[in-house]
């Protein structure tokens, strides 16, 4: 915006009158203190209560494993993933006989390596 503004008539005297009038205007407006209506006060207070943090509520943060749970889709999905991972470990460590036979049928031949020979790793044997 341009700062060029028309010079008031009356030269220096006009300038002085304009400044006096402005001082009076600023002084008067600065004393105006209009009060807000009750409806506005009630609306803002209600808005404040609605937005108020609740004591004990978990604060949103990027700390801990919260971000990972959120990324995975929350507790139900993360729990399912954990169960699937545990099942995979069990199958890998002590595959059921049916699974071994199925693998033989598909692959033709299977070779087993045991790092813990004869150990009942999961206590599955009586």
């Amino acid at each position: 915006m341009s700062d060029r503004i028309e010079t008031p008539p009356g030269g220096a005297a006009g300038d002085a009158r304009a400044e006096d009038a402005l001082d009076a205007l600023l002084g008067e407006v600065s004393q105006r203190a209009e009060a807000p209506g009750e409806a506005l006060m009630a609306r803002i207070a209600a808005q404040g209560r609605a937005m108020q943090p609740r004591p004990g509520a978990a604060a949103p943060s990027g700390q801990g494993a919260g971000w990972l749970r959120a990324l995975l889709g929350g507790w139900p999905v993360a729990g399912g993933l954990a169960a699937a991972a545990a099942a995979g470990v069990m199958i890998g460590g002590a595959p059921p006989a049916a699974l071994t036979a199925f693998a033989s049928d598909v692959m033709g031949q299977t070779v087993s390596y045991s790092l813990l020979s004869d150990a009942d790793l999961y206590g599955l044997e009586d």
Partner: protein, 232 residues
């Protein structure tokens, strides 16, 4: 607005369960107060500084939202009215400014800033945004007020007309000049505080204020008679 820090002091035993207390430099919540202690809890909060009250709000103190509203909204609304001279716009600004306060409350750290200074900045910025929009559209129109036969009605109407004229002139100024003049001459803030609010030096504030006042005087010079200043 209260600015004094407060010690909650000796409170009744039933109140101590549910009031904000100081701990490690911050207010912390104890338990939720029983219903009969709410009024006492409210009274205990009234002595808190604005910053402490905002921390209490963030900690979940039920009465804090109401107290902050009662304490801060009249000032925000009055500031917006002085700059905008329009009730509907001033109400919108007050609501928007307080919305920002509620949002910032959880991150507020007592002692880092004054709530009032923060609100002066937010309110002035919101008003400047509206003055900018007003420049691009039609000039402010006088609200259609019904005739008021009460004593002093003519003076009130003239006061409102003068407020509108000043608001229109502020809308014509460069934004930084308008902000500096409003904070200095309408809100009565000192130059150092304005410098903090505007993130500029004190000398820049003085320069902006002086140029803004000269521009305002020229803009309003033709309206002296209309505004009733011709013979003063």
């Amino acid at each position: 607005m209260s600015s004094g820090a407060m010690s909650l002091g000796p409170a009744p035993a039933r109140l101590r369960r549910g009031t904000a207390v100081r701990g490690a430099g911050r207010l912390q919540m104890q338990a939720v107060p029983p219903p009969e202690a709410r009024e006492d809890a409210r009274l205990a909060l009234t002595g808190l500084s604005d910053g402490d009250l905002l921390v209490a709000y963030a900690a979940g103190q039920e009465a804090a939202a109401q107290l902050l509203t009662e304490r801060l909204v009249p000032r925000v609304y009055a500031q917006a009215m002085r700059m905008l001279a329009d009730r509907a716009e001033a109400e919108d600004v007050a609501q928007d400014a307080m919305l920002k306060l509620w949002q910032v409350a959880p991150d507020w750290r007592e002692g880092e800033a004054q709530v009032t200074t923060w609100l002066y900045r937010v309110t002035a910025n919101l008003c400047i945004d509206r003055l900018r929009r007003r420049r691009r559209t039609a000039p402010l129109e006088a609200a259609a007020e019904p005739p008021d036969p009460a004593p002093g009605a003519a003076e009130r109407l003239q006061g409102a007309a003068r407020n509108r004229a000043l608001s229109e002139a502020l809308a014509s100024l460069p934004e930084r000049q308008a902000r500096a003049v409003a904070l200095r001459h309408l809100e009565g803030l000192g130059n150092p505080e304005i410098a903090g609010i505007m993130d500029i030096g004190v000398e820049a504030v003085e320069s902006l204020t002086a140029r803004g006042k000269r521009a305002l005087a020229r803009l309003l010079s033709k309206r002296r008679a209309e505004l009733g200043y011709e013979d003063e």
